[in-house]
Subunit: 549 residues, 2 copies
Amino acid sequence: MADARPSLSTADSTATDTGVTTGPISGSRKVYREVGDLRVPVRRIELSNGEHLDVYDTSGPYTDDTATIDVHEGLPETRADWSGEHRTQLAWAKAGVITREMEFVAAREDLPAELVRDEIARGRAVLPANRRHPESEPMIIGKKFLVKVNANIGNSAVTSSVEEEVEKMVWAARWGADTIMDLSTGKRIHETRERILRNSPVPVGTVPIYQALEKVNGDPAQLTWEIYRDTVIEQCEQGVDYMTVHAGVLLRYVPLTAQRVTGIVSRGGSIMAAWCLAHHRESFLYTHFSELCEILRDYDVTFSLGDGLRPGSIADANDRAQFAELETLGELTRIAREHDVQVMIEGPGHVPMHKIAENVRLEEELCDEAPFYTLGPLTTDIAPAYDHITSGIGAAMIAQAGTAMLCYVTPKEHLGLPDRDDVKTGVITYKIAAHAGDLAKGHPRAQEWDDALSKARFEFRWTDQFHLALDPDTAKAYHDQTLPAEPAKTAHFCSMCGPKFCSMKITQDVRRYAEERGLTSVEAIEEGMREKSEEFTGSGGEVYLPIVG
Amino acid sequence: MADARPSLSTADSTATDTGVTTGPISGSRKVYREVGDLRVPVRRIELSNGEHLDVYDTSGPYTDDTATIDVHEGLPETRADWSGEHRTQLAWAKAGVITREMEFVAAREDLPAELVRDEIARGRAVLPANRRHPESEPMIIGKKFLVKVNANIGNSAVTSSVEEEVEKMVWAARWGADTIMDLSTGKRIHETRERILRNSPVPVGTVPIYQALEKVNGDPAQLTWEIYRDTVIEQCEQGVDYMTVHAGVLLRYVPLTAQRVTGIVSRGGSIMAAWCLAHHRESFLYTHFSELCEILRDYDVTFSLGDGLRPGSIADANDRAQFAELETLGELTRIAREHDVQVMIEGPGHVPMHKIAENVRLEEELCDEAPFYTLGPLTTDIAPAYDHITSGIGAAMIAQAGTAMLCYVTPKEHLGLPDRDDVKTGVITYKIAAHAGDLAKGHPRAQEWDDALSKARFEFRWTDQFHLALDPDTAKAYHDQTLPAEPAKTAHFCSMCGPKFCSMKITQDVRRYAEERGLTSVEAIEEGMREKSEEFTGSGGEVYLPIVG
């Protein structure tokens, strides 16, 4: 069977002549809930017993059978007339106003709009929605809401094209990415981003320093505040919803990384460290931070304060460099909020399990509970090619501890640029981590999904089980590898145990037997045993209870 | 690139004409450490900088270039003359005697033999080594030692052959399985097990009730103590090292499962529940437990007390049925120990993250710290086809909490019988979980491996990085997908970020620059900044610090 392993890409999804994947996920269809004059998308999973389960839907119009997709036209500008005055969501929230974006988000999360407003006003949640990205569907990032997942895409100088990156965006959103980051560092950066933004139903994040560095031919020392500022404005104008800014990498923190096993592993962090040392001056991101706030405020772009000194190995986790920077990020958080700019804080990286909780605790303490947005963390360094898993473990744990958004890691991490299959594996792995986090935090609706799937499993509704899976296509393909025939879809077993050894089948037999005989309570059982026992004793039979040690 | 994804099977390993995979793992070679007259195997990873790293080796002679493998002959009976009197490892340990098996294990774990003896004597560790399985290399399961991984193999009535199962055993041990369980329920059960045992360098576990059920044509009601006992003796004679016995499924616990979402999901548990109800009598495994102890003692077979009522869904986790059974397992643990029989306790199953720690706490309390051996647990039900990941998260966390051995889950869980690729994915995923657990528990030598890999990564020793990976073949294949050429193996970048954006390259440049200029301490940096600042002030330049909120 070694060669029969199905590709993780799906046979069901259709690459249309627009070059992107369209059509519903197997067994689901797009439904819009009308909330006032808002149309809030959900993915409805129809079940064979007449029930259905509605789940949170990030996929945008691409999974809507009735939508017309033209990547050259871009998506409809649904939010074009939503914005009133030029005020940020944070400013409105502080003023006590519930915006349409907040209403939309509240409906998506099935939570009160007032909670949404309050969490944003406190800075404990962000709603990243650049006015110039009216194609996006509003979503919220904060620890009281569903844990979110970001997928990094973008080309490098070595590989990939604009078309591939647009498809990766659609593909990532299809499988559940709540936001995407375009980290392109190769050719046609502006054009790639434009095509992604005009077609993206989810908020788009970037790291502007990458494009700025391209403008100076890759020499960090040649960077200036002016080049950086103009790049930020260019990206704000295009509609980028949140930007990673490594403004916490201060000159005096650079020596703290000297003894590390892996030094500075953040690209932005290493660029800024190089600049600071070359000029022997404080980072222009730090010294010009207030100007940056003013620019981002004008578009309502959200800060994602980057952890440029995050640990890149188990050995470097939770060290002085990392937490020194975090303190500075706290300082910058307060400045941004004074400017009514929304802020989230990026987190590590590589962290062994016993050091994970401290990251969340310190972030909340130092950054006044700004939403935490972490990369993994990877819980060991020894498994390149499986870092979606080493990091999925850490991601689930840090989500449980209160992280609001998880940046995925793909199997290609440390090895190469992820392709479309890697993107899917990364997203599904992180949806697992996020959902495990939702369950562990006791999110009121999270367990519905698990219960629906387990019920289908117990009742041998195989097709429902596939459709309720995060990845219906792969679940079905794996099942069909050994039992492809149609009757197996209603069989009371699978090839794992075969017909005689299926515990669920035996359990159902047991339940039926017990019900027919009234043996459905401990009392009934004990009464029956007492009678049996008396029979035995009366007949001189061996007493089988209690056992003799 | 969608179709270029390399198979998870390796190109390097050689399927010899013996039908099993032989030859070293890429970049490693088998080395034996001489400890007294014992030869203790390690896997030596040779590095390009002249250093090497020795890691724990489960793979047996199959990865020894100098060994002759003949699966019809079986492995050499290395331990044939080790056993003295018929006494169990537990009995020797209680008597204060360090056996050769204990010495071997101490050398493997690099820990004092007296600690090994003491942990076994307390019942806090087990050394499963049936006298009739002299081909096995002794290993220890206990929370003070490296976290272990078990791989389930075995055919079902639907699929697989003897040859395939022997290769799965060799394959699982190759990638790091510390024990395997043969869960065959299909044809030729005895013969399959015989071939596995004679060729297995790792301890082999079974669930005797499966074969007993085959003997009565799959009807649980037809089972008797005598049929079961004879099956156990048959398997003890063959050399099985540990046996799962679901003796804690009591008649009165069955109704506790009636309201569950997924009832009884353990095969053994459901079989025994069916038997108890059909006869309305207490389980013969419970009533005859002392006799069972006497049989296992004669061969030094270890009990793995099965959790027949483990939860099979998030909804059923930590319920009354589960913990009622655990209490009975505690009672049975004490009886087994009185008979000098070693015991470990099996655990769940499906458990959300916030309920994981309680499982370990209760197991230790109720079962006097007998080693805990858990299946996952799966932290959500919604991702069939990815249950190696849903459960890898739970496995890492429960290992951190003190679980001694993790039973792997493969991507095929709930869907079909795992093939060879699934076995590898399952084992590697669980090695990650186990190692993450070792790191989090502060195992003295665990971090060496992470440090060696991260150092290789930082120094762009790509080939060393691959060789230090848990799965060198897949790591290299992923890297080579985009940069296959030989020069890329020494390049200071990969396709993920391209040459200009590699943070590690920039960091090295930064370090060199800083060292050349003496900017290697916070003090030096601050002194430099003060001078610069004075220059600026003197020249009427703008003061760039502090920033203005």
